[in-house]
């Protein structure tokens, strides 16, 4: 950057090290010499990389990992023909699903029916913008990070209602309504529990929340001299468990998979979707599981932190969100589904009250200690 006259998107570049991915890309490719246009292009490239990284992870999870995990739990083999461990099924399934005929039923509400899959998939992807994934992969770091990620994750509800209502199918309608009743019941415990983390960190900025967790030492294991970082899951395990439960309901996974309970509603809001539309709705659900995992990893599990050099950050981060994904699949195999009336009662009478108790106690404890 020469001189103060050139407007630059990245003022930090002049002083400290680059922090965010767009800056890294600008430096690596030398796009900075083209001024603002070059930097905008670098930002777009960075966003494209992040989007595709998430998409690749969902690609592995949906057609392959999910089947393999469920098969292991139920003592079966699952996909094993294409490639080592059957991993080639990812490509075969992608081609198969995209090449299906797109059957659009007569009674659908056209624009809404077509837009819903884009809303569901796109909103989940947008949430990853503020997640620090380690190894310099961090697209943006606004001061309102945590509030932003909750807000964006909430957009999916609109997509689900659009899909449910526009399909013109009774199962879809009920599935969409259930999805909203569920999101509405669990959104507040989720946000309020997330707020108890903000009380510790004193900031909504994602990089700040991660830094606070890893700067402080909770205790040192005697004899081994291992400093245990103050990850919020260790500081406040109660909030961690509450957040996990609310998160599973929020992304509609077992035992809270009411909206698409196959035995009652065929496939809920995705009943009338086929071909690429079905892929997008399905993809959006997996993106949401991973977004939930990313939020949990960031605010409770120290983000990309782990043993070894900082460059391994992305590895630890991926490991943490796959841990959460594994947990959802474990619950899918092990826990029966709750009924809709139980679901509403667990949310409004149980989790909501507990999350406010958690917030009050955390505030009191932080106040007394400080």
């Amino acid at each position: 950057m020469s001189g103060a006259t050139t407007p630059s998107l990245f003022p930090l570049q002049n002083g400290g090290d680059p922090v965010l991915l767009p800056e890294h890309i600008t430096e690596l490719t030398g796009l900075g010499q083209f001024g603002l246009a070059g930097e905008l292009l670098a930002t777009f490239v960075a966003a494209f990389i992040v989007g595709n990284f998430i998409l690749a992870m969902t690609g592995v999870a949906g057609p392959w990992a999910k089947r393999k995990i469920t098969a292991s739990f139920t003592d079966r083999i699952a996909v094993n023909h294409l490639g080592p461990g059957g991993i080639g099924i990812i490509i075969a399934d992608a081609v198969r699903l995209l090449a299906k005929e797109n059957i659009i039923p007569e009674n659908v509400d056209r624009p809404a029916y077509d837009l819903a899959p884009i809303v569901i998939a796109g909103s989940a992807m947008l949430g990853f913008a503020v997640i620090p994934m380690g190894s310099g992969i961090h697209l943006a770091d606004p001061e309102v990070g945590l509030a932003f990620v909750f807000a964006v994750a909430g957009i999916a509800s609109i997509g689900l209602v659009m899909a449910g209502y526009a399909s013109g199918n009774k199962y879809s309608l009920l599935g969409g309504l259930r999805a909203v009743a569920q999101n509405v019941a669990y959104e507040i415990p989720l946000v309020v529990t997330g707020m108890s983390v903000v009380l510790f960190a004193g900031s909504l900025q994602m990089s700040e929340i991660v830094a606070v967790q890893n700067e402080t030492t909770l205790f040192t294991i005697p004899g081994l001299e291992w400093a245990v970082p103050a990850w919020f899951a260790l500081v406040n395990p109660f909030a961690f468990v509450l957040f996990l439960i609310a998160n599973f309901a929020e992304v509609g996974r077992n035992p809270f998979d009411m909206p698409e309970a196959p035995a009652e509603l065929i496939a809920g809001y995705q009943t009338e979707y086929s071909s690429v539309y079905f892929v997008l709705v399905y993809l959006g659900e997996f993106l949401h599981i991973f977004l939930g995992g990313a939020i949990i990893a960031t605010i409770f599990l120290g983000g990309p932190a782990g043993p070894g050099p900082d460059e391994l950050g992305i590895l630890w981060f991926t490991l943490k969100i796959w841990g959460v994904f594994f947990l959802t699949q474990w619950l899918r195999s092990a826990v029966p589904r709750v009924r809709i009336d139980q679901l509403i009662e667990i949310g409004w009478k149980g989790l909501l009250v507990l999350s406010f108790a958690n917030l009050g106690l955390t505030a009191a404890i932080v106040g007394v200690i400080a």
């Binding site: 998107l9 947008l126 913008a129």
Partner: protein
């Protein structure tokens, strides 16, 4: 000294430009997949194929039926509590700083928010007693449950 609004300059906007870029990518990837699928997939028009799915039967009646009032009551409650969380966020952000400074006592920081949350929880208790967060059962359902061994 008077306060003046200042437009954020381009350097302060870079986070939101990056988020906007991901939003664009988030729309372009689904559109790209739709385009690929459009090139690959066959089209075999057939009248009965496009009927609304109802477990293989001919669909009966209209889809936009009347549905359970429960969904509506719960949504009203949600609206109140969601606005509350929005009001709680700024408090949570400044809480640690406020506690660590000696200017204000703990009671002054915690008190108003506890009062605010309590008022809303009283509201929840009222809704609870009124049965708004209880899933309504039809007389037939109650009867079946009563007769269950």
């Amino acid at each position: 000294m008077c306060m003046r609004f200042k437009l954020p300059n381009v350097t302060e906007m870079n986070d939101w430009i990056a988020i906007g870029a991901l939003a664009l990518v988030g729309v372009l990837i689904p559109l790209g997949m739709m385009a690929v699928s459009y090139l690959l997939r066959p089209s075999v028009p057939e009248t009965s194929k496009r009927a609304t799915y109802e477990s293989g039967e001919i669909p009966t009646g209209d889809t936009r039926v009347r549905f359970n009032i429960q969904y509506y009551m719960v949504a009203l409650l949600f609206l109140i509590f969601d606005i509350e969380t929005v009001l709680l966020f700024p408090w949570a952000v400044v809480y640690l700083d406020a506690v660590e400074s000696d200017a204000v006592s703990l009671l002054e920081i915690l008190g108003p928010m506890v009062l605010f949350v309590t008022i809303l929880l009283v509201g929840l208790a009222w809704a609870w007693r009124k049965g708004a967060v209880q899933w309504a059962q039809t007389p037939r359902q109650v009867e079946t449950e009563h007769n269950r061994p």
